[in-house]
Amino acid sequence: MPVTKKKTAAKKSNTIKLKFDTSWSYDPAPESKSAATIKPRYDLFINGEWQKPAGNKYFATINPANEEKLSEVAEANTADVDKAVRAARNAYEKYWKKMPAKERAKYVFRIARMVQEKARELAIIETLDGGKPIRESRDFDVPTAANHFFYYAGWADKLEYAFPNRRTEPLGVAGQIIPWNFPLLMAAWKIAPAISTGNTVVLKTAETTPLTALKLAEIIEEADLPPGVVNIITGAGETGAAIVNHPDVNKIAFTGSTDVGKIIQRAVAGTDKKVTLELGGKAANIIFEDAPIDQAVEGVINGIYFNQGHVCCAGSRLYVQESVAKQVIRKLKDRMESLIVGDPLDKNTDIGAINSRSQLETIQKYVKIGKQEGAEMYESSCSLPRKGFWCRPTLFTNVAQSNRIAQEEIFGPVLSILTFRTDDEVIEKANNSPYGLSAGVWTDKGSKIFNMTKRMRAGVIWANTFNKFDPSSPFGGYKESGFGREGGLHGLSAYVSLKV
């Protein structure tokens, strides 16, 4: 076959369009479901046993990619929560508080290793239950969860180095409530530091994504932890409220929406419960004209479309310097065309299913608001599966600071693009938000990075990268994004009281 001769004449630049729908395409490469075992029904994991819920009620958990039922899980009521808290209290007094720290560490290391051993199964279940692409659950969620257990297991018998010249004591029973966007990883973030420092735990999963935490309960059972050290229960908002209001809980750790965070804050007022809240965000991702543009574009794509945008630290407000705005928007649109949306179990999928019908409705509501506000919407041209909950990667240009799509958290694959002229202007605009969880800065100039990061009010600021997580680095917010830090040394202090 000779070299094919094609038209080589230069085209007018305003008609130029790259064609990403190529004749050479990828065949489906689905991960096998058979490598994962999901039971038809799960009870509550209390006191080291699987116990039926007192109300004998169960609810279904579905695969958001096809709306098929995966399993049903127990709905814990106040009596179940009380049982779980009593089990945790008993385990705390009887075993866990007294156990030498290096013995406790062995259990946590064991959990970490078992998470690694069962990585493939956990990744498949995470993808089935939550809709996220298998590539992300395999390469991010599960390994990072294992790393958190390893990291905090290492600290268990070294707390005197974490807090020099102070004696540490565990707090007691920790009530923990986790969200649906990173179910296993959030369980690891909560459980690992709590039990490593000598606390016992009652953890409630999110309503739509209970399965990997229940799988983790099976791992904890197999790891032979003393009964009651970790209790994992399922249920909706009322179950969470029962944990928060239980008088024998010493610490509440919550990750979720700002609205619920405020309710929790009110509920614990006047008690001596310690609280950490990790809530919503509307991160500013800022591109200066001297930035490495192609890498910045990649960072913006990762920042907003990672996990379908169901990320509290998602870079959902893009501020781009006006001199490069046109170029950046063009590059973003091109890049969106090469994102593969579809079957989350396919190894080539970049963007999976929206987690639930109600979240899809929220996203659609904001897209409508954006259009009404006069912003220009652009979405990728990909086709969507007929069943399940789906949303094309979307961006809005011509967004104003006063638009609701620039102020409120959408928690979906929707990016709002605003422009700016000067450093001072963008700092003011970036800080002009009730949230302050994360931010990103893209520039080739080191001094500008330090100037920006010093003046921006956000818990995590990434420079020339985005969405990087490590167990050793603290994570948490300013303002309505919550308080307290998880991860790193800071994450330890949320679970100990310091004595002289």
């Binding site: 000779p2 070299v3 064609k19 990828y26 001297d290 990649e298």
Partner: protein
């Protein structure tokens, strides 16, 4: 520089900056695409058809080149219907032999020129070298840039030299070898790419194959993005040729993924994308036979030339 103007040249010292960590991370994403079944077979055939089968040795002879030309036309006759490679790449002294051996097969003859591989010769020598290869019948010229002058910041010198060689090429297509392994940073790779494209390159090419590292995925990504930006700016398509170090099919498929996702359909053919390689062809053939028969054959079943 006035936006959109074709007559004015950009200030090459202001070429876009490249973040090394970001480029490497992005390049590794392409290796995570799972290429199976039909898409694997089609990809392998495409790779075979994009190869510039190369011999660039001091000990090259007419006999060696003739054998290589036969291989180019008949990669593996045990499997009927396979595409040929895109071109044969040789030294100027071997162009005539290759041209004759390839006859009217449609396979191009590419010749390195301009005091390949170092490029350390005066401009008139380089022009003569180029004209000689063209007169002998070369369809394509693979030139090297003056890396020394580039490092010394003499971008105008590098630019003018490329433009002069382009003129000497006549109808032959010009591939400009940046020798990225000698440039040191991605910033400089991007700058050299911009210079070459503005000076008249039809293709930009990573390496001579004589210096390590040769082609890598990150460096190729930087060049593909330069090609994309140039295309948007001028409407002119530029080809890409990674060369050296790509000897396995799997890696070549990763490169195809990268071309598909950065530049798309128009570049997925041998008019606009080439692999400069010598041992890649046989690995691709081995994989094609594996796909067709279900078993791997030993290397001895595939001719070396």
């Amino acid at each position: 520089m006035a936006a959109g103007s074709l007559t004015m040249l950009p200030d090459f010292s202001l070429s876009p900056r490249i973040d090394q960590v970001g480029v490497e991370e992005r390049a590794s994403c392409f290796t995570k695409r799972s290429i199976k079944k039909e898409s694997k077979m089609n990809g392998l055939l495409l790779v075979l058809n994009m190869i510039d089968l190369t011999t660039l040795e001091g000990k090259d002879t007419d006999g060696k080149v003739k054998q290589l030309c036969y291989k180019a036309m008949h990669p593996h006759d045990a499997i009927p219907g396979l595409p040929s490679v895109a071109a044969i790449c040789v030294y100027p002294s071997m162009v005539k032999v290759a041209k004759k051996a390839l006859g009217d097969s449609g396979i191009k003859v590419a010749s390195v020129a301009t005091a390949f591989p170092s490029g350390q010769a005066p401009r008139d020598v380089k022009i003569r070298d180029t004209k000689y290869a063209v007169n002998e019948g070369a369809d394509e010229i693979d030139m090297v840039i003056s890396r020394g002058k580039f490092h010394a910041g003499e971008y105008n010198f590098v630019f003018d030299e490329i433009a002069a060689i382009k003129e000497a090429c006549g109808d032959a297509r010009l591939k400009v070898i940046l020798e990225t392994g000698e440039l040191g940073t991605f910033d400089k790779v991007r700058r050299a790419s911009d210079i070459a494209m503005h000076a008249g390159a039809d293709f930009i090419k990573t390496s001579t194959g004589k210096i390590q590292p040769a082609a890598t995925m990150p460096v190729t990504l930087v060049m593909l993005e330069a090609i994309r930006d140039f295309y948007y700016k001028t409407g002119k398509m530029i080809g890409m040729k990674p060369a050296g170090g790509i000897s396995k099919s799997k890696l070549a498929l990763h490169y195809l993924v990268m071309v598909k996702e950065v530049l798309g359909e128009d570049w997925l053919n041998n008019e606009w994308f080439r692999f400069g390689a010598s041992s890649l062809a046989n690995d691709v053939l081995m994989q094609i036979v594996k796909e067709k028969t279900g078993v791997y054959q030993a290397a001895n079943y595939f001719s070396v030339d």
